[in-house]
């Protein structure tokens, strides 16, 4: 099945793109998807999402089809869903 990916702010900057699509096994869990993304996008991407102890940085929001989900909920994803990774922004 396919999952649509969207990225904002610094995550978008690191990847040099604001969207992507990934083919994954049916019924994949969120944490497994994030692991695949770390493998695909590399160390800098990983350092934004995870601290030195491998713990998820929860200030990076995860949005599944317009609803926020927590990393630790580890929701099951279905075919065609859109997953957005948002790094926090401020202002000034």
């Amino acid at each position: 099945m396919n999952i649509k990916l969207k990225f904002t702010a610094q995550i978008k900057d690191i990847l040099g793109r604001n969207s992507d699509t990934i083919e994954v096994e049916n019924g994949i869990k969120l944490k497994d998807l994030i692991s695949k993304l770390v493998t695909r996008y590399g160390k800098v991407f990983e350092s934004i999402l995870f601290d030195d102890n491998g713990l998820y940085r929860h200030s990076n929001l995860i949005i599944v089809n317009q609803s926020q989900v927590n990393y630790d909920e580890n929701v099951t994803l279905s075919d065609g869903v859109e997953v957005t990774l948002m790094s926090p922004i401020s202002g000034g």
Partner: protein, 246 residues
């Protein structure tokens, strides 16, 4: 509650016709106090729109003097005020627009020393600060004192806004429970981006004070002005939040 004068009735004639607002809502605006911190790209336009709308008192908190690099987005700062205090420039411009406006200028940014006092003086807080340290302080005090807070943010051509109502919604620390590691003080942005989301922030404050419409409670409105995609994301309170303690 102070009533509207004849001059105010004439000035606000067009918005008095907005359903559910009217004279009562306008009087609530007149009798309200809004804290805007800071008066940069976001805060300048928030303050300008609130001054235009007839908010009675604005507390403006912003340290430092006007620099060239402010002028692409900080619309209350002017070229002739370069090197002079930002809050003075802001006050001068706002008074040109609305001489009835009461302005409390604080030439400081939000810190641990002033956050509780400034939040305590306001009915509504509009968070337009560049540093998460300032944002988290305002959020903590707003939650502690039960004051609604409108949080506006921007980066490049992206912008977002949510309205925090203590006891009803997720707070900023629910959204961002850890200090963001990737945020940098200087970031790419156009003034039209900050101005756009600032107008939405002003509208949220007006709705909260006048008591009409549906503020962005537990909703994060996101905009990407590169593509003009606008979304409203459902957000939620975080269990064990250190600030709102859900």
């Amino acid at each position: 509650m102070k009533k509207l004068t004849e001059e105010e009735l004439a000035t606000y004639e067009w918005q008095l016709d907005v359903p559910e607002h009217g004279v009562e809502g306008q009087e609530r605006l007149k009798n309200s106090t809004v804290l805007v911190s800071r008066c940069g790209g976001l805060g300048s336009v928030v303050a300008y729109e609130l001054a235009a709308a007839g908010v009675g008192t604005l507390i403006l908190a912003h340290a430092g003097n006007v620099k060239h690099s402010d002028l692409n987005r900080q619309l209350l700062m002017t070229h002739d005020w370069l090197g002079k205090p930002r809050v003075e420039s802001a006050e001068r411009r706002l008074k040109e627009l609305n001489p009835r406006l009461n302005i409390i200028s604080i030439p400081e940014n939000i810190t641990e020393n002033n956050a509780a006092k400034l939040v305590g003086m306001a009915d509504v807080i509009v968070d337009a600060a560049p540093l998460f340290e300032e944002r988290f302080l305002m959020n903590r005090e707003a939650v502690k004192q039960g004051k609604p807070l409108v949080d506006c943010a921007m980066y490049e051509l992206e912008a977002q806004i949510t309205t925090i109502v203590p006891g009803e919604t997720a707070c900023l620390s629910c959204l961002y429970p850890e200090h963001p590691v990737a945020w940098k003080r200087r970031f790419p942005v156009f003034g039209a981006v900050s101005g756009t989301i600032a107008c939405l922030g002003a509208m949220e404050a007006i709705k909260l004070i006048s008591e009409f419409g549906e503020p962005l409670k537990n909703r994060l409105l996101t905009m990407d002005m590169r593509t003009m995609d606008v979304h409203t994301i459902q957000i939620k309170q975080r269990e064990n939040c250190v600030v709102c303690g859900v």
